[in-house]
Amino acid sequence: MPLLQISEPGKSAVPHQHNLAAGIDLGTTNSLVASIRSGIAETLPDIEGHHLLPSIVHYTERASTQVRSYDDDERANTQVRPYDDEIIVGNAAKSFANQDPLNTIASVKRLLGRGLKDLKTLGTRLPYEFVENEGQGMPMIRTVAGLKSPVQVSADILKVLKKRAEKTLGGELTGVVITVPAYFDDAQRQATKDAATLADLNVLRLLNEPTAAAVAYGLDKGAEGIHAIYDLGGGTFDISILRLYHGVFEVMATAGDSALGGDDIDRVIAQWIMQQAHIANDAEHHQIRELLDVARTAKETLSTQNTAPLNIKLDDGIQWQGKLTHSQFNELIDPLIQKTISPCRRALRDARLTVADINEVVMVGGATRMPRVREKIGEFFQRPPHIDIDPDKVVAIGAAIQADILAGNKPDDDMLLLDVIPLSLGIETMGGLVEKIIPRNTTIPVAKAQEFTTFKDGQTAMAIHVVQGERELVLDCRSLARFELRGIPPMVAASARIRVTFQVDADGLLSVFATEETTGVHSEITVKPSYGLQDTDIERMLKDSLEHVQEDVATRTLREQQVEADRVINALRAALKADGHHLLKHHEFLEISAALDELLRVKQGNHVQTIKKAIEHLDEITQSYAQRRMDTAIHHAMTGHKVDEFTQEN
């Protein structure tokens, strides 16, 4: 067989190429970025040496889309530069929280993927002005820099982390893994992904925070067995039960509360102070902020001391002084800790396990620094929890490990994460009831098909409402999407058979397809996220932000197409090298090689459509090759087994 020249001159072979990748923990209180450097996963600091970026964004009157933080060293050098044309993120923004609370957004993660109605149930008033976005459920925050959606605020945080990583690593990131609470629903996940798109990040995977922690912890310890990951962050609580076995992290069950965290503890203390100091419930925004700060400091003090002093400046200028003792503190927070126990119990039940089956308990999230939390959770699981990896950094570190593998830097690594869908997916049926389609804790990716029929003669459209949650009534569940199936051929009532497939991908994101079975008509579906951004919104916002940084949109599209071409080329080259001669007939090999050469050629040019066509052509002719490769891999996986078993028996 003749040897075909398929490699581009001057380029090294694919496996040696190192792709820059990072793990991002987009937290309620703090965010972090981590990467693998010289084989070690570590979080990346800003120029002042801070690893944690407070998730706080301050908007100024003439804010452009230029995002600033202590990650910019020019700021350090040019001393007094006014902030007035900037969006300020992190520690620099923190100082504005008390002076200018309405334009300083903290804990935005709690607002992601939520409707205005949900926000009202989030506890004490949030110190922002919300504006209902007409036609859409997504609330906007009014700032001096205009209306900001929680997605945009999150994107501004992500931009700073992106910049930090690219500066530290010395190049453009090929992709990132962003962590989300395991208990995040579809809307919250989608919103996180949208924020990443806005920040111009390529998301390799949305990874559940407890799974990320397990990766960091498990790989560090080489641990095997069943682990409970207790993750109490600033605003979210998750409990995950995982089985670690030969590099496979299998989530057995997950439960939690996506609106419960350290912030609530601050709030409970703040409310207690308000009672003690006789501060009225309708206190000003800045006063609430100050109270929350005092509460947080007291909470932190009580981790090491027996009492915490309290000093509050009241509105009438009088200084109020008090103290919070350990036992008062415990009394205040015990009910909140108790609220985390029932999800723990439920996760165990769902995994069909008891406390006795758990080998290790791992603590994650800043709020688990509180000794009372460790004590109570240790009591419940009947063993002392592990606290040896910094609970603030462990999630980002795990994400970085996964990002490195997904970016293709460790082709031989056999680590695999098998995650689950945290909340049942269902659809609305007659009478406002929910019919469950995919039960919670089903391993993803998963697909379920459901058949529907028409109700009236000649009916050509049908509305479907997708919800997420465990309750029986639609009203008690989260509304995810409403869509209409159109183009159903007119038939007698109940004779159309519409098959709707709900697919949840490995990121935990839902997509829906439908076909009318008797005629084979493919119905067009547009899934309208109830509290999300529309694709067109994202496109518009991206365009806006691009215009600001004066990057040409056409250049960007071309660049994207070239990146896609490179991906196809690299993947195909690696495949051909591995098994091309083996799995392809001679003429097939020639045909594919020719198309590959063609793509290499047109990629150098600047014609977007031509590159696109060449990619599509290559994709088309490699279809059966891809199938053969997959089948061979499956065959190897199964026969490899038999060999093992045989050798063991002998």
């Binding site: 995977r205 970016a407 695999l416 990716p445 997959m630």
Partner: protein, 171 residues
């Protein structure tokens, strides 16, 4: 390819859970979308389809009720029937269970009572599985079908008990 063939296992109600779990992991290692993040779109879609199928097969076989129903389907037996002619003794007992469940809330130690209740259901499920294993071994699909219906009752009861647990947790 039927679900047993996916894991290269003989078609049987009795499966070795460790073996199937191991093969499941080995299959996911080669088909999971994470292994195709940098692959062209078509391969990524293919990986998602395969991983979905492997998950579906594993879910179905892992759980005794769905495994039993799947075995009947392989025999061409319709399992979505609304045939409810259950033996009266079983139905009586189900009614008693339900009454008991309804009264748990009023008990002085509802959690303990619920736990005992759940344990009892789980024990009964286990017994039913043993019977099913024998019936499938003897190709007695008719009796197996009856017992699978009983299984469904127990599963539903179990779920209700769990939602009661959540209700108790939340108040």
């Amino acid at each position: 390819m039927n679900y047993f063939e996916v894991f290269d296992l003989p078609v049987s109600f009795d499966i070795d859970t460790d073996t199937i779990a191991e093969r499941y992991r080995d299959l996911q290692r080669v088909v999971h979308p994470d292994k195709y993040v940098n692959a062209p779109d078509r391969e990524r879609r293919l990986a998602m389809e395969k991983a979905t199928q492997v998950n579906e097969a594993f879910q179905t076989l892992k759980n005794p009720l769905s495994r039993g129903l799947y075995l009947l389907q392989l025999q061409g037996i319709e399992t979505h029937d609304n045939h409810t002619a259950m033996d009266s003794e079983f139905l009586m007992q189900q009614m008693e269970y339900r009454e008991e469940l309804a009264e748990i809330k009023q008990q002085s130690h509802p959690f303990d009572a619920l736990n005992a209740f759940l344990n009892r259901i789980e024990r009964e499920q286990k017994q039913l599985n043993d019977t099913l294993s024998q019936q499938f071994a003897q190709n007695d699909y008719l009796s197996a079908h009856d017992n699978l219906r009983k299984c469904q009752f127990l599963v539903r009861l179990h779920e209700e008990a769990l939602s009661l647990e959540e209700e108790l947790n939340n108040c």
